[in-house]
């Protein structure tokens, strides 16, 4: 072996167009997972205002909820959580060795269901006193 050429990992994510269902499911599951753990830390941090008194807690939440951006971010969070839950159910079945032949269909189903649930929830999330 004189010399060889390492093409590296370039072709991995550069080839996203060729990803199959299982690969997309994994990418989205990891992405939503990162968002959720990030949110968990933020969530605890925000609610920690409760430690410094009941009125600060209530006011902080009121103020955040009065921002339209926050409402939209919450819809995003819902989408992320719902997908992670539904695809998580799919993965639990895969782990049990059930329905492996339909793994691509179950991924599409979880995508569609996520979309449906999120759209149906938008009025509740954006409505109320802004």
């Amino acid at each position: 072996m004189s010399q060889s050429y390492d093409r590296g990992l370039v072709e991995d994510f550069g080839r996203w167009r060729e990803f199959s269902a299982g690969m997309w499911a994994w990418v989205l599951h990891k992405f939503t997972g990162w968002v959720l753990i990030g949110y968990l830390f933020t969530h605890v941090a925000v609610l920690s205002t409760a430690v410094y008194g009941s009125s600060i807690y209530t006011e902080t939440i009121r103020e955040l909820e009065s921002l339209l951006v926050v409402r939209f971010l919450e819809v995003g969070l819902l989408a992320v959580a719902v997908f992670h839950i539904l695809n998580g159910v799919r993965l639990l079945f895969v782990d049990l060795g059930m329905g492996l032949d339909a793994q691509d269909k179950s991924f599409y189903a979880s995508l569609v269901l996520t979309g449906g649930i999120v759209v149906a929830s938008i009025p509740t999330f954006l409505g109320g006193q802004v």
Binding site: S4, L9, E18, G22, M23, L91, L96, G97, Q103
Partner: protein, 292 residues
């Protein structure tokens, strides 16, 4: 020209044979017909009537000045019915550029030497029909392995992972073996491991695996499937199975599988790789529960 002639150049024996002619006459006749056909084809080629397939091939050669930086060469290969990517590569090498390098041997998806990255998917060159592919057909060496030259990659790491699971039968503990008899396997057990025995070590799965690409120590789908083939074989003793599970249960063993199904999607022998890996995960958990 390679040893295999494309269909249209092969003389049509049935049409030529006449009851009275001797074997020698027959051969001569076939030869003449072949020559005529070839001439006709060459003529039509120059007239630009032959349908060709554009083949974009990855080229790299550390020993040649102009090829140290990888590039793509396009070959226009005359299309034949039933032509595979391997056939087209052989044609390109024999007719256009003898330095074009790729591995191949049996041409029937058994030897596992021509796994390539064709139009963005790991496939066997000999199994990929040109007719099923979008044009131009882009042929690259398997991703995630160092390229030696053109389409030839370094398979050493793959073989090392395969060897690490001790890919050979370790019976020997049974009464049958002690008595010097054949170690028979039950029909059900054979059926269970049937698909896993079909692996031809082509490395397509390993190359398609996103995790194997990132974590170099990950055993990878092929090696785990190979381990499955023996771990699930009832003729091996408990201690051997324990030993095998021990290898698979390591951090870089079955747990790294993220069920992306890439390996299962590309396996040219249709082995349900993900299913086997998942079964081994459950087996490992059950094993460990016993010790708790």
């Amino acid at each position: 020209m390679s040893t295999q002639l494309p269909e249209s150049e092969r003389p049509d024996a049935d049409g030529e044979s006449t009851g009275t002619s001797t074997a020698q006459q027959g051969r001569l006749e076939r030869k003449r017909a072949g020559t005529a056909e070839r001439q006709a084809r060459e003529e039509s080629e120059t007239a630009g009537e032959v349908e060709t397939v554009p083949l974009e091939v990855y080229r790299y050669d550390p020993d040649v000045e102009g090829k140290r930086r990888p590039r793509f060469d396009t070959f226009h290969v005359p299309l034949e019915q039933g032509m595979t990517v391997l056939d087209a590569l052989i044609y390109a090498r024999d007719e256009f550029d003898p330095s074009l390098t790729f591995r191949h041997s049996c041409r029937q998806a058994i030897c596992g030497s021509d796994a390539l990255f064709i139009n963005g998917e790991q496939r066997l060159g000999c199994q990929a029909q040109i007719a099923d592919l979008d044009h131009p057909v882009k042929v690259e060496p398997l991703p995630h392995q160092a390229v030696e030259k053109d389409l030839v990659v370094d398979m050493e790491h793959f073989y090392e992972q395969m060897r690490s699971v001790e890919p050979y039968f370790q019976g020997g503990a049974s009464e049958a073996d002690a008595a010097g008899e054949e170690q028979l396997q039950s029909r059900e057990n054979r059926e269970k491991i049937k698909m896993s025995t079909r692996c031809i070590w082509c490395g397509a799965c390993q190359s398609s695996c996103n995790i194997a690409a990132g974590d170099n120590k990950y055993l990878g789908p092929a090696a785990i499937n190979k381990a499955y083939r023996f771990a699930m074989d009832e003729r091996e003793g408990e201690d051997v199975k324990d030993h095998r599970m021990n290898v698979l249960e390591q951090e870089h063993g079955v747990w790294r599988c993220q069920t992306q199904f890439s390996c299962t999607d590309v396996c040219p022998k249709d082995i349900p790789l993900t299913e086997h890996i998942q079964e081994l995960k459950r087996e490992a958990v059950k094993d460990n529960l016993r010790f708790w």
